[in-house]
Symmetry: C2
């Protein structure tokens, strides 16, 4: 079975770990969000790709969900001693090595997809990890600070400001001119199942869908009979983790399991899983033409996550009919 | 008193520490060798500038003479885990931060001289540290391996091969097109004394002199009455440290205190210090028109080094007459 998953960072990575356990023989292709990518200290940092790679490769800091296990921060402290920031982005020494290798390869002319493949040769994530695009896309967030409108990089909004001010708009800068990375459209066309994990629908899955061609390919695959199933990132009217509600508001979507399903819409998704606490949403989602089931959606451990993945695959088969 | 010093790495840096103690009120300008510079992991590494900066700024690993005190090697180990080398160059985590800042600034368009000044703002070396040039110069060494002629970067010859094969030639690639960094010629013209520390006469001082304009400026300053005094890097027919004999052979110069003095020549240097064990060389050096004294030249500690610096300054005054 060939499964394509559109993934952001922590939520996507954890879901993938469960999916691998639920479907050990599946060929899984992950289309990773690169809108969060940022240049720090002259180095190219790809937080979402790395979170997927480290999580599936056994190198993740479990507790925080991102960054490396057993990490130290000598380089960052030294950079601070030079007065070079930002200090709000937690790059550890082990993590720095990844960005150094990536930046060196990009500088030598390799596209991000080839670089990601090379990095994965070490981590052996057990999935094929593709960036959504080899082209630069940067998610910017429009905010108002002291009455002044400004746009900041998503990482500055998310990590530095901790989404403490309202997002007026979320713009994937460069997306309209970006092309899907080699293999992305082919994987979608060849997929038996397409899954949207409980990643952020705006700044993770939404950014991937903003790359021209990707949304269209998924709609086309769905029309041709490939089930497209999503899992709600909202449980009981609050994000499972992160601050998805902040960016949902920016696109005029309520932070409810139903609203996110309708935001994707029946053109894009055929099936939708909500948490058991949101069982009341099932009827509304189905009324919109999306098959819906209420199952436990908290990724408390790999077992629970694998059960979620099995439910998603079961719903896919049900949709396929 | 304005002193200009042409310095390589360890020998130059240690001499400068003694000079600062010997002449605490002097304005010291250091023209640093950048022929040893190398790109590693996509980062610009300037070993000699950093050794001077770390040594005078109190951040040096005293025992090895280069690199940072209290160093760790996490980044390097991680790079090796990615299969990315070279592993023979010992970049530590603290040191990496310096190269990251430098590379970022160079990428932003700052010349190396401005970058060096910015790095020194942290280290406060107590001297004005200038790269010999903002242009790229790379010392290559011609060697023969298994009957095959090849040219390797100086660092590969020095650090990886540990000068274990004969150097057929030493070529400062790019030197002929390089311009002295801003301030170099002005400092030489304004100097009260010019010193050649016991740095390598071929790959350190020799490379600096290979930048068109620098040798000429020193000769001109000397002709105008500025004493130019050197200290022999050879004591008792062997290099004080390092493998200077290997590269001296490549330029057809014997590894003796006399031969190095004659290699510089009376056009360039007015005074020359040899070690007391080489007292027999004094007459030969003076016969070549270079004022010569035999004094202890082992930089065993800062006190001994300061004494050497005082001898050099005393010889300069004697030459000035």
């Amino acid at each position: 079975m060939r499964i394509v998953v559109l993934a952001g960072g922590i939520g996507g990575a954890r879901f993938l770990r469960g999916l691998k356990q639920a479907a050990p023989d599946a060929e899984i292709t992950v289309v990773g969000n690169t809108g969060d990518d940022i240049h720090l200290f002259g180095l190219k940092v790809c937080p979402d790709l790395d979170t997927v790679m480290y999580t599936l490769g056994g190198g993740i800091n479990e507790e925080q969900g991102w960054g490396r296990l057993d990490e130290s921060f000598t380089v960052k402290e030294e950079l601070a001693a030079y007065g070079v920031g930002p200090e709000w982005f937690g790059l550890g020494d082990r993590d720095f090595a990844t960005h150094i290798v990536r930046t060196q390869m990009l500088g030598a002319g390799f596209p991000l997809s080839a670089v990601t493949e090379a990095l994965c040769a070490r981590w052996q994530p057990g999935v094929r990890l593709l960036p959504m695009s080899d082209d630069r896309v940067e998610t910017h967030v429009a905010i108002e600070v002291d009455g002044e409108q400004k746009a900041v990089h998503f990482q500055e909004y998310w990590v530095k400001l901790r989404a403490s001010v309202d997002a007026k708009a979320v713009v994937p800068v460069g997306a309209e001119a970006a092309k899907p990375a080699p293999g992305v459209l082919e994987a979608i066309a060849a997929a038996d199942v397409i899954l949207f994990p409980p990643s952020n629908p705006v700044v993770s899955v939404g950014t991937i869908l903003a790359v021209p061609g990707i949304r269209e390919a998924i709609v086309e695959a769905g029309a041709a009979g490939t089930p497209v199933v999503g899992l709600s990132p909202i449980v009981g009217d609050a994000p499972v983790r992160g601050m998805a509600d902040k960016v949902l508001a920016a696109v005029g979507v309520e932070a409810t399991a139903t609203a996110v399903a309708l935001h994707y819409g029946s053109e894009l998704v055929d099936g939708w899983l909500v948490d058991t606490v949101d069982a009341g949403a099932v009827a509304d989602v189905e009324a919109a033409g999306i098959r819906c089931r209420a199952v436990p959606l908290m990724m408390t451990d790999v077992e629970a996550t694998a059960a979620m993945a099995r439910e998603a695959l079961a719903l896919a088969e049900e949709v396929r009919g």
